[in-house]
């Protein structure tokens, strides 16, 4: 009987997580559109739904825009191209969306101890679905599975633009996976664990962004490329590929691709928060929950801890999402050779260097040495500055030299 109740609880939790991720996606699109509009001197979508305030002011202008978009996409005509590989074509959006959703189970979204235990004796945390031993490996694996959806969508559409988009996506994701994995390896060495919650706990004293600054920068660049987002969005370069891999997709199938892309982006930001920015913890949260526990009991204390950590986690994720939008608003798309160059020639050696630095410091200094952490961060900054100076594209010398004309009279 207990078994079935556990299954039921798990199902409900999974439903909540999936809905939460979808809602997060919906509101991220609104966040991005409003913010991009601000960056571009526009107003942005502010019509669909607002709370009227006295004096003609409008609060939360546009908060129903995601719902309106969803309704619009639902009612659009659903077309399957005549020469498409029908079943693969129909399955591709699922292949894209499912990995994007299941990333979230291994990310500790906060710390809300439930008092229950799994059958192997580990405590259940309401906000961390699957505290698996190889959490970091799971995250890496699932984020890269997502590219299958894009690749088979490009192939099944039977359209050269889709095909090119799919091929580009595969090549790009494979190239940047290396740098991504190596940059995470630094964090794993720093924390000595592959369990995401232990990585978070190891950052209670000092966030990993300080000792692993180089790794953080590499992770940011590589994760942006991994989720094929601007400035690495060659997969859907409108000027070259119409829409890229999703050219032949319309209606809700397109929405699923869109959704997978954005959920993956948010998930990448969430992973960055987990690995580098201390997860859901901010100074003072533990003390607050202890104080509440002392006066109102453990349940209330746990709830306060859970909600505060979840809030802090979302806050940090939002800050990184702001960075994503900001970068999208600022930087132009890179060329394909530049993309490959950056991935293989710059980021991968840098990530290896980061691993070496972490290893050397790990041997020379005891765990948790603040001084060593700051030194590592300093070395990271120096390395980044040196790289950007040395690896910057050489400014082409003027091809024409002016010569005094030899009059032939």
């Amino acid at each position: 009987m207990d078994f079935w109740i556990d299954i039921l609880i798990l199902l409900v939790r999974c439903l909540v997580l999936a809905l939460a991720a979808t809602t997060l996606f919906a509101y991220f699109t609104l966040f991005e559109r409003r913010l991009l509009a601000k960056f571009q001197h526009r107003v942005g979508p502010n019509r669909a739904g607002y709370i009227p305030l006295p004096g003609g002011k409008k609060l939360f202008g546009g908060f129903l825009q995601p719902a309106a978009d969803a309704v619009k996409l639902f009612f659009k005509e659903d077309v399957v191209p005549a020469l498409a590989d029908r079943w693969v074509y129909l399955m591709a959006p699922g292949f894209a969306v499912i990995p994007a959703l299941i990333i979230w189970v291994a990310i500790p979204l906060g710390d809300w101890p439930s008092g229950l235990t799994f059958s192997d004796g580990t405590a259940v945390n309401w906000l961390h679905y699957a505290p698996i031993d190889v959490g970091v490996l799971y995250l890496l694996a699932v984020t890269s599975i997502g590219v299958y959806g894009i690749a088979i969508a490009g192939w099944a559409s039977n359209n050269k633009y889709s095909m090119l988009g799919g091929v580009r996506a595969s090549a790009q994701v494979i190239s940047y996976e290396l740098a991504l994995g190596l940059s995470i390896l630094g964090v794993v060495m720093q924390s000595g664990s592959l369990r995401t919650e232990e990585i978070v706990n190891a950052q209670l004293g000092m966030w990993n962004i300080v000792p692993q600054f180089l790794g953080f920068i590499i992770f940011l660049v590589a994760s942006t490329a991994e989720v094929v987002r601007s400035p690495f969005d060659l997969v859907e370069a409108e000027q070259e590929l119409v829409g890229g891999y999703n050219t032949e997709y319309g209606s809700m199938k397109f929405a699923l691709f869109f959704m997978s892309e954005y959920i993956k982006l948010i998930a990448m930001n969430a992973i960055a928060v987990t690995l580098f920015l201390g997860g859901g913890y901010l100074p003072g949260i533990k003390e607050a929950s202890i104080a509440v526990t002392a006066s109102y009991g453990a349940t209330a204390g746990n709830a306060v801890l859970g909600l505060l950590t979840l809030g802090a986690f979302l806050l940090k994720t939002t800050a990184l999402s702001f960075l994503s939008v900001w970068i999208r608003a600022s930087l132009p798309r890179v060329r394909y050779d530049q993309l490959m160059n950056l991935g293989w020639v710059i980021l991968m050696p840098l990530a290896l260097l980061n691993v070496i630095i972490t290893a050397v410091f790990g041997v020379l200094f005891p765990v948790g040495d603040g001084m060593a952490a700051w030194m590592m961060g300093g070395i990271g900054v120096i390395v980044i500055v040196l790289t950007t100076v040395l690896a910057a594209p050489k400014r082409a010398k003027r091809g024409v030299t002016l010569v005094r004309s030899q009059a032939s009279n």
Binding site: A37, F39, H41, R42, V43, W326, S330, L331, V385, A391
Partner: protein, 165 residues
């Protein structure tokens, strides 16, 4: 390269705090320029008479053939316009009109003028034809004196071809 990145990011960040240059259109409307060419108006003289004398020069000048003028003789007892004739029908097809302003240039009495109204959407093609009642300004909005060349209604000569016969 780092400098360029920071420069780019700081430029966009500065724009984040500026007021948007776009306006929320149906509520806020930008004024158009003085010489903007929008919807046409048929003007009147100061005494309320129609300026249009039904000469059809605007229809002849129109490159997209958007204007229809059907002239008629004025009733001498109660003339619609100074001069011999007036426009009994005056229609402009706003779907054909390209707002070039040639009709304005062709008009000898400055009767047709392109004004500043630009919200010209309609639900069907029939509604795109603006007739005289829609184009003509109200009586009290006339201006200007009738030029002497048009004030010869009473001493109209016999048809010139018949003078010598």
């Amino acid at each position: 390269m780092l400098g360029a990145l920071i420069k780019g990011l700081s430029t966009t960040f500065k724009y984040l705090f500026k007021k948007p240059v776009t306006v929320e259109y149906p509520e806020v409307k930008r004024p158009v320029r003085e010489r903007f060419r929008g919807r046409h108006q048929l003007r009147r003289f100061g005494n309320g008479m129609e300026r249009c004398i039904g000469c059809s020069l605007c229809a002849a000048a129109c490159p997209s053939d958007a204007i229809l003028v059907v002239p008629a003789e004025n009733n001498p007892a109660a003339p619609n316009s100074p001069g011999e004739r007036y426009a009994a029908r005056y229609e402009i097809n706003m779907l054909r009109c390209i707002f070039c302003g040639y009709c304005e240039d062709a008009c000898p009495t400055n009767a047709i003028v392109l004004e500043h109204q630009y919200e010209l959407a309609f639900y069907d093609r029939k509604a795109s034809i603006y007739d005289k009642s829609m184009l003509l300004v109200p009586v009290e909005q006339g201006h200007g004196d009738i030029p002497p060349v048009l004030q010869q209604l009473n001493r109209r000569p016999s048809p010139p071809a018949q003078i010598d016969l």
